[in-house]
């Protein structure tokens, strides 16, 4: 690898999760100094990801794939250690998280786009492109509750595509929609990687399929296995 500019540096992080809240007053008092039971997900975990790399994170359920992405995104924080990111991080932990189903597709683009950090002036210009990419032209003024699941994921993915991410985090949401839309998404991701952007993808299925997709155009594929 010639390019060694870092995109993400994870330095010896430890992350413990709360399993459950104490149910009775007695356990509350017993654990008054550390009131919640904890379960370690990461212990002294380090990882460096460079710009232009596609990282595929694999591992069984509960191994911390989603947690790792949430840590990189800054949604949750490590108990110990440090995480540094360079550039704009856009997480797609779940497609359509935070969508409001009473509101229309267009209204949801405004909310979601703002959360992904797109400024008003830019968003106004991007909205036609987002709608085009999602192929939802006929449905954009209809409440989301009337959408099919596929339509919702297409909308969410399209907004993320135009969020100008430097580091894109995908949590098992790589190929969405029908075959045509999948091909479009893959094309987009390939172009994204060509521009020296970083992709971090977590999955526990179809790894071989993903790797062949990327290998065609990009050789910087790194596989990280959690256990």
């Amino acid at each position: 690898m010639k390019n060694n500019q870092p995109a993400v540096i994870i330095d010896k992080i430890t992350k413990e999760y709360y399993l459950e809240k104490p149910k009775t007053l007695k356990t509350w008092f017993k654990n008054i100094f550390s009131p919640f039971k904890k379960y370690p997900v990461f212990k002294d975990f380090s990882l460096k990801i460079n710009k232009g790399e596609a990282v595929i994170i694999t591992g069984p359920n509960g191994s911390g794939k989603t947690t790792l992405l949430k840590l990189i995104a800054g949604i949750t924080f490590p108990d110990k250690g440090k995480i540094q990111t360079f550039g704009k991080v856009v997480p797609l932990i779940e497609l359509g998280a935070g969508f409001n189903y009473e509101l229309t597709g267009l209204e949801n683009i405004w909310i979601n786009g703002t959360i992904l950090g797109i400024e008003k002036e830019k968003l106004v210009k991007l909205i036609p492109k987002i709608i085009d990419f999602s192929e939802l032209n006929d449905f954009i003024n209809i409440p989301l509750k009337r959408y099919s699941t596929g339509m919702i994921t297409r909308l969410a993915f399209s907004i993320a595509v135009y969020s100008e991410a430097d580091i894109f985090l995908l949590d098992e949401v790589f190929a969405v929609g029908d075959e045509k839309f999948q091909r479009k998404s893959i094309n987009y991701i390939n172009k994204f990687l060509e521009r020296k952007k970083t992709l971090i993808l977590s999955t526990n299925i179809n790894i071989k399929k993903f790797i062949t997709y990327f290998k065609k155009i990009n050789k910087n594929i790194i596989s990280v296995e959690l256990n």
């Binding site: 949604i75 949750t76 998280a97 703002t114 959360i115």
Partner: protein, 256 residues
Amino acid sequence: MSKKLKLYFQLLEVLTIRELKSRYRASILGPLWIIIQPLLTTLFLAVVFEKIVKIKINNIPYFLFLYSGIMVWNFFEQSINLAKESLVWNRDLITKSKFNKEVLPISYVLSKIIDYLVNFLVFLILLIIYHFKIKLLFFITIFNLFPLFLTVTSVSLIFSALNAIFRDFGRIIEFILLLGFYATPIIYSENMIPEKIKIFIQINPLSYIINFNRQVFFENKVDYYNLFLPAIFGVIFFIISWLIFKKLEKKIVDLI
């Protein structure tokens, strides 16, 4: 304005609009509820406390007296009832995307300002119906929105964070609000309170806000003390609750 600050206000704006749209779109009577609800509340309370308990307020129609208090209280109570659930309702958003979480409770409070302004206009109409002269001076009470907003937001920030971590807290808030209603001069006036317990009224910022409004409307008198004291209190309270919220914010993601 820096890009970050701009996006912050943009987020507040879209979330407030989201709340307003989704609140009224699904109901048939829609925004009419803003007007109906306080009128009915005032009517019921007026029947109980004027006709049965026989409270008398000198020279002021009791219905108007009551409404001027209900107007402020409703903004307080309804904002808090929405804001306390704001983090819980938006759990998906909190656990899956990155943003400043305080915009959630604040956006719900902002959405209720519209209701307050509508109720203010309704109050002016009520004054006309009761043959009061509308004076330009009445609009000075709009300035009261500043301490009122700060007080409501401060309480909302703390309650929403605590409710996200301990769901039982939502139940406790119901009692606090019930207590607050009777500890605020809404159905009675401040001078009806025995000296001994007056302190409870004096530590309540809502008392000052309601008193200020009533003096303006019914005595055409402006008491700046009642305007600035809650404003100063509001600023301090807001800073403290903001800091508490920011302290809890990082934990909320894992505990909600």
